[in-house]
Point group: C2
Chain length 349, copies 2
């Protein structure tokens, strides 16, 4: 095994206590003191406690970068998400954060704004030692993401949640999207809808495809003819969605809307207010959504709710299995959690 | 000036390209190649481009920790917030994230769950080199936070937003909370309310006090007698708030509710649904809230909305002024942004 030596110079502030001084104060060796600041068992508990107490008293902090160079660990995980302004992602991050804190890890957050190039840049950059592992909801499914495979053995431990790359072989946490979509569509049909529009932001995503297939199969089960004009490609912009949804409502006159993300349900509500359409009389609405106040909407919104906090927590757990080398558990490749259907007034008969 | 030498050993993986090999490939010196990976101007643009292109081709990444030891910079800022499950904080983080990305900085996120001890632990830990600066919305105003002053000259650059410690002398971004509260209370009075309850989570926070003073002064202006039973101390728990708010509605029978955070407005809505009280007929409601879908609630919610994304962006800007040593700008001590009153159906006459 080759060793490379870095010579690193760091300025010593005159008022700063260093490990040598700390060791002198305690009448211990530098290496003993140093061990107290690592997560090892090679030091007696009472000695460690004594050292940490003195360090606190003298306001000493071990240099993070120096100790990381020795340990080759940043005790940091990076989270990459397409957006923050979405209850699903903020709850998932909250779930990850809790588990990370239990493991005494830090979290870095990166937002791609659904821009694949940003994702590539973030990931490349993370491979220089800033993080030990990555939890990602992917942004660039339509693109070539073989860059992840090119990283080969050097690739950081990676776990996907929600939006995954099917061709990248890493653990993932997803929900039963096909079943949920099937049930959502079936629910609209059983409530009397015959012309159901499916609103989607990025139908090329696997999650978009899976959800769409559930919709299509439910129509087929009830012998409703599939018409691809009712698959409506929307956007991330409020203004654009307002135009798109209003056109759909005027031109296609659907009696049911199935929104694949909550912002499209909101766009539908606003459009109905403006066009004087009444939900659920003129139009029933169901949506994938993690909005906790869905019962407070006018009318209260029927949702398929993913267990977002749990999804984040499970993804973090899978990553820690990889990081901490628990082989038995880390053979788990896919965790599938169940979404729940909450029936409310927006789909009343 | 004293220099301290760290000897740091790092494992060299056999397949890993190092800076020496990269320099050989380019027929350049190691120090020239090394300069290309720093944000200095001491290298020609075309040389730098050539080096970066070759590095990309060979999949080389400079070791982050080694280069940080040399530069004493992590290019990372830490954000500390009391909670994530609040639209205000997720929007503020989004604002910070955008500015940080422009400056090519990374962000670490810490959530205190309103627990002061967690805040202290996070901050202590951050002083070991993991971050260059901190943006914080404080959690422990009722506590002694002199620990921040004890860090003295070693204290990382710090900027407060929204919830500040008055006795810690650092730049801050706040909103005109007194005026907003005064106007909110006045609005309820002008809509006919005479018994206005003010719901607050932590009235010992300066932000809680400032908002309360606006409420009290507005009552006085309209010669409504102040009764401290109408100042209602709530909690962060849904279940507890449900009990507290229902008791207030039954015992004190207020005709107006002024909620200092959005979750208390939601608790009021749920309580009114359960108690068959009609908003705004029986009770008018106004709330501080960054909820974008306030117009979709039943009834649509009158809000005082803080420019959360801007607040985050401005706080980040103040921190970068400190980090980048722009003395002129960094004398800015306080930025006050204005909240907006959006009148909707929940306060209709």
């Amino acid at each position: 095994m080759l060793l490379e030596i870095y010579l690193c110079f760091t300025e010593l502030q005159m008022d700063r206590i260093n490990i040598k001084k700390l060791a002198e104060e305690l009448n211990l060796s530098k290496s003993t003191v140093s061990r107290a600041f690592r997560d090892n068992d090679d030091i007696k508990a009472d000695t460690k406690a004594r050292i940490l107490a003195k360090a606190k008293e003298l306001n000493y902090q071990p240099n993070h970068y120096a100790s990381n160079l020795r340990e080759q660990k940043s005790r940091t995980i990076a989270i990459i998400v397409p957006e923050l302004a979405n209850n699903y992602f903020s709850q998932a991050i909250h779930g990850i954060e809790r588990i990370a804190r239990e493991h005494n890890y830090h979290i870095l957050i990166y937002v791609t704004d659904d821009d694949y190039q940003k994702e590539v840049d973030f990931i490349r950059h993370l491979h220089n030692g800033r993080a030990d592992g990555i939890i990602m909801s992917a942004s660039g499914e339509a693109n070539n993401h073989s860059y992840l495979n090119k990283l080969g053995g050097k690739r950081l431990p990676l776990v996907f949640f929600d939006r995954v790359y099917e061709d990248i072989d890493v653990p993932r946490v997803v929900t039963n999207d096909y079943d949920s979509s099937f049930k959502a569509t079936e629910h609209l049909i059983l409530q009397g809808c015959e012309k159901i529009a499916y609103l989607v932001v990025n139908k090329s995503l696997s999650i978009g495809k899976t959800r769409m297939q559930g919709y299509i199969d439910a129509l087929e089960k009830y012998r409703i003819k599939f018409d691809d004009r009712y698959i409506v490609d929307c956007s991330n912009s409020y203004e654009e969605n307002d135009v798109i949804v209003k056109e759909v409502l005027k031109d296609l006159k659907p009696d049911g809307i199935f929104a694949s993300v909550e912002r499209l349900a909101f766009a539908t509500y606003y459009a109905c207010y403006d066009l004087k359409l009444e939900i659920p009389k003129d139009l029933k609405v169901i949506s994938f959504s993690s909005l906790e106040i869905a019962p407070l909407l006018n009318p209260s919104l029927t949702t398929i709710t993913q267990p977002a906090t749990d999804i984040g927590g499970q993804a973090a757990q899978l990553l820690f299995n990889l990081l901490e080398g628990e082989q038995v558990v880390s053979t788990i490749q896919e965790v599938v959690l169940k979404s729940k259907l909450f029936i409310r007034n927006s789909t009343n008969k």
